[in-house]
Subunit: 462 residues, 2 copies
């Protein structure tokens, strides 16, 4: 396939300029959860739209009530070529705690690691700016060598993925005809390991809730009122502690409704991946699985639901000590869902449980932060098999089909609203520290990621 | 007693200038727990020393490894007059959350309340700058009318009371001969109510501990690691929830060692005070006693030990949501002690309990924040009875002897190190919001507080 080699070589020759583009995008502080960065989000959208237009796409920035979408179209070389919708997100997570970053999170930097690998550090390098550009740069290589793309491409970039995608559903609904394709390509996932590409078939859903427990009408001196006045931190601790039983199961009534056991053959296939609890946890400095007893880390993170407290604050948290009983305390709690767990019912059950733990003279406020059911994609399809073969050609080891602990609600929206299945392939690594200080993307992920999309697009055409 | 009336009238005439002095002292930002305010603490000490010198005291600022002490001496009119040591503290609590203050915490302001009372708002107006100046202004009135003081007075002002008084014991030890008096007067307590002065006979002790639970070596994405990696907020919630049983009792082994039941006659005398759970808690917007079941609010706050979480923080606590599993989470916990509870043993028991709850792959750090045993002063003594009579002459209702939930470790230090009992009289009110936003001191507390010390000093002389 000499034509393919030409495109791959072009991508290789482009690598330095491809990196410059990635750096430029990563310098934009498009933190979607913080209103202070609204203009930066708009700037990232414009940057992407302009770049796609320069590659010959019909591209536009589309306003939403939140951060804008970028939508771009390009015809395929042949009229009967398949039509793919490529999805990515240009928004990033906040960068705190900022003091733990070794370099400026918004000044991407190439570093050589102790084992000789080159990595690009910076917020968004992996999640998801670097990833989404792998596809754009693949398109560029095709355009520069053939003047065309092998498949018809629609691109959708959103800027609210890290804040629950509030504008996405209305946007898909209003623009269904324009966005509908034969299937979607989503690049927001990880490799199995640095040598083994992976396609994700199972995605956990997500329910986010913030609770604020309120007690006295002001902060109190714990000497005068301690032992008499309700302490909202105690109430919160009781609520959060009660979420799990001694076996690590979530205690909410009805929580496991719709959760099915993973088929044995799927679990067997995971066993062949050679992952152990020790290896999985060892990478992050831990060794003892914390979840449901008797289930391995892959099953726990890919196929079992969870409840995690993502943040908690109350009372005096500065230096030194202050003998205060706080007026209020709050926590952010998220649930990862699997199977047919219903996000609305989980939220209701959680709220009812919390209310049952609030003393008569105290109160609680709830704030909703997104909700989406789990997704199960087919473990076997023509699309999947073409993509796996293309990936296996590029990387040292054959591609594998895996589950995934994170949530990508868009995949469910594509299914329900556009009647379209997704293919989830990405080139992040589990140690990329996404959402954490010192996020990085491997130079190899970027380079071979671009080459992977070239191979996948070529395979989809045929 | 015409001489006494002269002094009282002088105090009345001085009120405006007395307020100016109090405002000047309260404008100094002497927050002892925050190193950023070190210079301000030194400035408060100098201000006080200079003022005492201007009244004829032999006064000096004494350096310590922390914030300085102020020590001042004045002879009594007669050679055989009793010798009193007056104690107060010029440091104040931090002012956060600053956004809840209605006026600048360091710009004292006189306001008229809805019920026509005049209050002075600002950090330290009640705790303890306004209180300590009641005694100084009483001395001034004596000096301006008689040129002398009825008793021999030594004054000790410290600047670390709000941060555990680390320099106090060594200072008392090094200066015992200079500081020893017949007894101590401590003005850091409250009235029973706005019409009823009170002398405090029981003081709870205090143990402060900060714990930091550490799990993974970095913040984690809860999608990838949730259900497998230890979550330090869960561990912390389990630890804190487990501190109390369903009856509100503290569960630490040995916690109640040395706790004795309050004598029935003392409890009976408290019943005559006319306090109810509803009234006590109603003032702060609550209604359900939260402590040990079956004990009223006065017993719970005066005569029973407690465990209170004063602060907690972990994970993402900003706006919006971040699906992170934190690397660490921390809490500040304090125990109020009564009877003969041993602070060191309580701390040991707490640390052993916490360690028992830490999974094998996680760790915990402890930070000590002060410790002092409870104090029980006599319910009946000549000193107490003289002071009660003097207070009863000044206020609408007779003085009462009460317990106290807070901790004033200095009282124990005076007992042990200087062999000296203390008389605890103060003019704060329970709604003064000390340690909270919008701290205030009643104008009446200040005015009649000055008059009260004039009466007490006159009574002690005879």
């Amino acid at each position: 396939m000499p034509a393919l080699d030409t495109v791959l070589s072009r991508a290789d020759a482009n690598l330095d300029s491809s990196l410059e583009r990635m750096f430029a995008l990563c310098r934009i502080k498009s933190i979607s959860t913080d209103p202070a960065y609204k203009e930066e989000c708009a700037r990232a959208a414009t940057w992407l739209s302009d770049y796609l237009a320069s590659l010959g796409f019909t591209s536009s920035v589309r306003p939403t009530p939140g951060h804008p979408m970028v939508v771009a179209h390009h015809e395929g070389a042949a009229p009967d070529a398949p039509h793919v919708l490529f999805y990515g997100h240009y928004d990033v997570q906040p960068v705190d705690p900022i003091n733990l970053w070794e370099t400026d999170p918004f000044e991407p930097t190439i570093k050589q690691t102790a084992n000789g690998r080159k990595v690009i550090t910076g917020r968004g390098t992996s999640d998801d700016k670097g990833q989404l550009l792998t596809f754009v740069e693949a398109c560029r290589a095709f355009k520069e060598t053939h003047g065309s793309l092998p498949v018809k491409v629609t691109i959708l970039f959103e800027g609210e993925e890290e804040s629950g995608s509030p504008s996405l559903k209305p946007f898909l609904e209003a623009n269904a005809a324009e966005l509908k394709a034969d299937f979607a390509l989503v690049c927001d996932t990880s490799m199995w390991d640095a040598e083994t590409p992976a396609i994700s078939a199972g995605l956990r859903g997500l329910v986010g809730e913030e609770i604020v427990v309120k007690a006295a009408d002001r902060d109190l001196h714990s000497g005068y009122f301690g032992g008499a006045a309700a302490n909202p931190i105690h109430i919160l601790a009781r609520i959060l502690d009660g979420l799990h039983d001694d076996n690590g199961r979530v205690t909410l009534p009805g929580f496991y409704d719709g959760v099915e056991e993973t088929p044995e053959d799927v679990k067997d296939s995971w066993k062949t991946l050679g992952m152990s609890d020790e290896k999985f946890l060892g990478e992050i400095g831990l060794s003892v699985p914390s979840g449901e007893k008797g289930r391995g880390v892959l099953e726990s993170t890919w196929a079992r639901p969870t409840a995690e407290v993502n943040g908690i604050i109350g009372g005096y948290t500065g230096d030194g000590f202050k003998t205060v009983i706080a007026a209020e305390a709050s926590a952010k709690v998220s649930f990862r869902l699997v199977g047919k767990q219903n996000p609305d019912k989980i939220r209701e059950s959680f709220r009812a449980y919390v209310k049952s733990k609030i003393p008569a003279d105290c109160s609680v406020e709830f704030h909703k932060h997104g909700g989406s059911p789990a997704i199960q994609l087919p473990y076997d399809s023509a699309l999947l098999n073409k993509a796996k073969a293309a990936l296996s050609d590029e990387w040292p080891k054959p591609a594998v089909t895996i589950g995934m602990g994170g949530s990508i609600p868009i995949v469910g929206d594509f299914q329900k609203m556009l009647g379209m299945e997704s293919l989830l392939a990405g080139f992040a690594l589990s140690d990329d520290r996404i959402h954490s200080p010192n996020e990085k993307y491997e130079l190899t992920s970027y380079h071979k990621g671009i080459r992977s999309w070239i191979r996948i697009m070529a395979a989809l055409k045929g």
